[in-house]
Amino acid sequence: MAKVKMTGRILSQEKIATEIYSMWIEAAEIVKEAKPGQFISVYCRDNSRILPRPISICEIDREKGALRIVYRVAGKGTDEFSRMKAGEDLDVMGPLGNGFPMEVVKGKKVFLMGGGIGVPPMVQTAKEADADVTVIAGYRNSEIFLKEELSENSSLVVATEDGSVGTKGNVMDAIRENALEAEVIFACGPTPMLRAIKNYAEENSILCYISMEEKMACGIGACLACVCKSKEKDSHSHVHNKRICKDGPVFLSTEVEL
């Protein structure tokens, strides 16, 4: 697996919900190797911002050599991205991280659970999963972005905090309300959601993989900025720390502490 940093070309930029943008980037060398659940590092143009922003791969178009990111404007870097236009250049590095273990879901009943800005990686994951896929996606309100894309490759179950669409509440409420069952779970979203899913999976002996987040500098495992606490000693530093950017971002739920 070769990682590269390269200058990509923005193919499209679209606002798809309040503060949520979708961008397609032509970056053939990255796409060649990219897998669902991996992420890329996106570089700012403004020289005062020296660290790249980690953003999940939402969708892959292998023919065009393009990938899609869907991101929330959370601060100055993502704000800068949101002002960029189709046709412009954008520096990106990838593919980064391990991605979801697609082999384990083969022929199984699987939940892809995404909360908020954790929903996007489920698009490509649903596309590539050779399984009986239910996407359970949690949103704040009726702006349920990526609905079409997710429906195409899965049965989609929605939860909204304000109850405007689907189950009122979070993704766990949606499972309960619809009495859903699965053999494997892949999840991405805010820490409280991941914690709830981890507990649920462990109580019900469901194989569960969660995608984690932490502030990053190098994005490739060299700087040790982005660790999470792990059950076992990690092979890199022989302490109880896994590197989210390199050993993750996807971990077996029983492997890590939240």
């Binding site: 070769a2 990682k3 590269v4 940093k5 570089y43 020289n47 005062s48 911002r49 020296i50 660290l51 790249p52 590095m93 932490e214 502030k215 990053m216 500098a217 190098c218 994005g219 490739i220 495992g221 060299a222 700087c223 040790l224 900025a225 982005c226 660790v227 999470c228 890199h236 530093s237 022989h238 302490v239 109880h240 720390n241 390199k246």
Partner: protein, 300 residues
């Protein structure tokens, strides 16, 4: 055209090295750059036993720079010698091992363990908090610097570079103390201590409260200190702090550095080290510089 420099008796193919802690032991960045091209790889700080480092968040971005409080997470010298040194031995580059510790005994344990290892040099990180001196860093007190240097020199089998902290009143005094203790060279600067407050959450941006500032924002301070130290000591200097490109590297060399280390820039551009080497070559060609050593300390 000669790019070779002699650093404390070790010949580097060019003066561009990595900065400790930003490049691991080279494996991760080897996907981006050919390690054979580097003057030297300086490894992440290693202690006598594994250290698990600080809680997260461990980093924060700041204007033209970053802060880190990794807390020197490392696997300890045993794993390091078994795994990282053999890995680096594969490449035609020099290996400089960065050493950390909380007390002289801890440093000495690592230095002793390194004695028979095939490494070219060691760099002693004296910015670590000194448990015996009220948690000020060793590097903030000239007497401790001289003493620790002398102790290390007694048992070290390879050249010893003392890595200085910039969080001091008079960097020249500290460098002279290292020289007096017998150091074969000094490297500077380590990070400046900073703090960021998240005013929305009303808390510190880093779990550790404070962190070390690095990147382009520290460059003017680093260049000034390298210049000051170059006027104060005769041993060679490894300059670092915010180097992003060949022009930045030249600032340090012209201020008096024999070699330079590239740290935070790797995060902004994983090809930075090799691009800097190429840029130095270009500068030399364009300006008719036959030997890079002509440029060392040329600005006075």
């Amino acid at each position: 055209m000669n790019m070779k420099v002699n650093l404390a008796g070790v010949e580097l193919k060019n003066p561009v090295m990595t900065a400790s802690g930003t490049f691991g032991s080279g494996a991760e960045y080897s996907e981006f750059v050919d390690l054979n091209k580097l003057g030297a790889v300086v490894t992440k700080g290693v202690a006598h036993v594994p250290w698990s480092g600080n809680d997260t968040p461990r980093i924060a971005e700041i204007h033209s720079g970053m802060m880190n409080a990794i807390g020197l997470q490392n696997p300890g010298i045993d794993v390091f010698c078994e795994r990282d040194i053999p890995y680096l031995q594969q490449f035609d580059t020099k290996v400089i091992v960065n050493v950390c510790g909380h007390a002289p005994e801890e440093y000495l344990a690592v230095v002793e363990r390194l004695a028979e290892e095939p490494i070219d040099m060691m760099e002693i990180n004296i910015s670590c908090p000194n448990v015996n001196a009220n948690f000020l860093a060793f590097g903030q007190d000239p007497r401790h610097v001289e003493e620790l240097t002398a102790q290390i020199k007694k048992i070290a089998k390879q050249p010893v570079i003392m890595k200085l902290t910039p969080n001091v009143t008079d960097i020249a005094e500290i460098a002279r103390a290292a020289e007096a203790g017998g150091a074969d060279g000094v490297s500077l600067i380590n990070t400046l201590t900073g703090m960021k407050i998240d005013v929305k959450r009303r808390t510190f941006a880093l779990a550790n409260k404070t962190g070390g500032v690095s990147g382009p924002c520290v460059k003017p301070i680093a260049v000034r200190m390298v210049y000051q130290v170059a006027q104060a000591v005769k041993i060679p200097i490894i300059g670092m702090g915010g180097i992003q490109n060949a022009e930045d590297a030249l600032e340090f060399i012209m201020a008096g550095a024999t070699a330079v280390s590239v740290g935070t820039a790797n995060f902004t551009n994983p090809y930075a080290t090799v691009e800097i080497i190429e840029g130095l070559e270009r500068y030399m060609k364009e300006n008719g510089v036959e030997d890079i050593r002509e440029l060392i300390g040329i600005v006075k």
